[in-house]
Symmetry: D3
Subunit: 67 residues, 6 copies
């Protein structure tokens, strides 16, 4: 019954990579807490780099500066 | 003053259906807890089926398999 | 498969009232979008009045001022 | 290490305005709680006006009615 | 830079189990997307069983009924 | 109408500091986007240090190690 939300910047994650995140997060809850995978929900949010900030600046600006 | 967030897969919900979710969720908070509808916020997130997992697989894969 | 998160201030909602929110939100998704209630998740967060702000001030302050 | 999520309606916020939100929210956590800006994350969600409700109706409807 | 939020019912997860969730979720983002673990944030929310619903009823009621 | 969620570790923030976060976040939305403060909601979540991870380890472990 757990709910997992994964937020990443939108920078080209493929459907296969997102499937691997879903599979891995679900398995983690099974392994660590014995949760039922059938009712474990994983939601991935891909966020534009203009809309994600760290260190007070957007990821767009950081990428442009090579950070 | 309540805040309600509804997450659904992006599979063609219409503006009318989303308006019905907003109306219904707001009314629920009025009916059950006597909350003020004027300051009740409802936010609907529509999530791509590649980005929503249940049972360890994406909804895209489940739909393709007829699940 | 929807996920609904309801945030309210912690001001004495009873288990019965919370059960009514869970029941009502689940039914709303069934009625409006034909979703499967068996995999519809509802999570209620009760937030201390010091930690909830509207109009730039906390609900604690608003309650004290009779707002 | 704080995490700030800002949800606004999608109504034309520019990259500059979003950068100002990131900068301002990060600085707020520095000023008030002495948090380290280097690990402060800000995520901005822009939500379609059909998907945001207040007072039981969508922002699309409110804008059309001049509210 | 990813942000992962894991919501589980509050039913006695230990500090060791929660550390394993943090470690595992962080490693998953490294393995699948090559993300930097130093800026990967994991937040675990433990939710009272009265406040978590599935199938239209609270987990408290489901546990009592042996579901 | 914006909604701001601020997540911090539970390490003794006072009611005054939380009021300053509410005031500052609300003002930020007024200054940058001209939003109406009367319907701007701020919710602060304080998270136990066992439940917050960065760099693959909990804040509890990091504090103990002087990080």
């Amino acid at each position: 019954m757990p709910y997992v939300n994964i937020k990443i910047t939108r920078e080209g994650a493929t459907a296969e990579q997102k499937a691997a995140l879903i599979r891995g997060a679900t398995q983690l809850l099974v392994d660590v807490l014995g949760k039922n995978p059938a009712t474990t929900v994983v939601v991935i949010d891909e966020v534009d780099t203009d809309n994600w900030g760290i260190g007070g600046e957007s990821v767009t600006v950081r990428r442009r500066a090579g950070r």
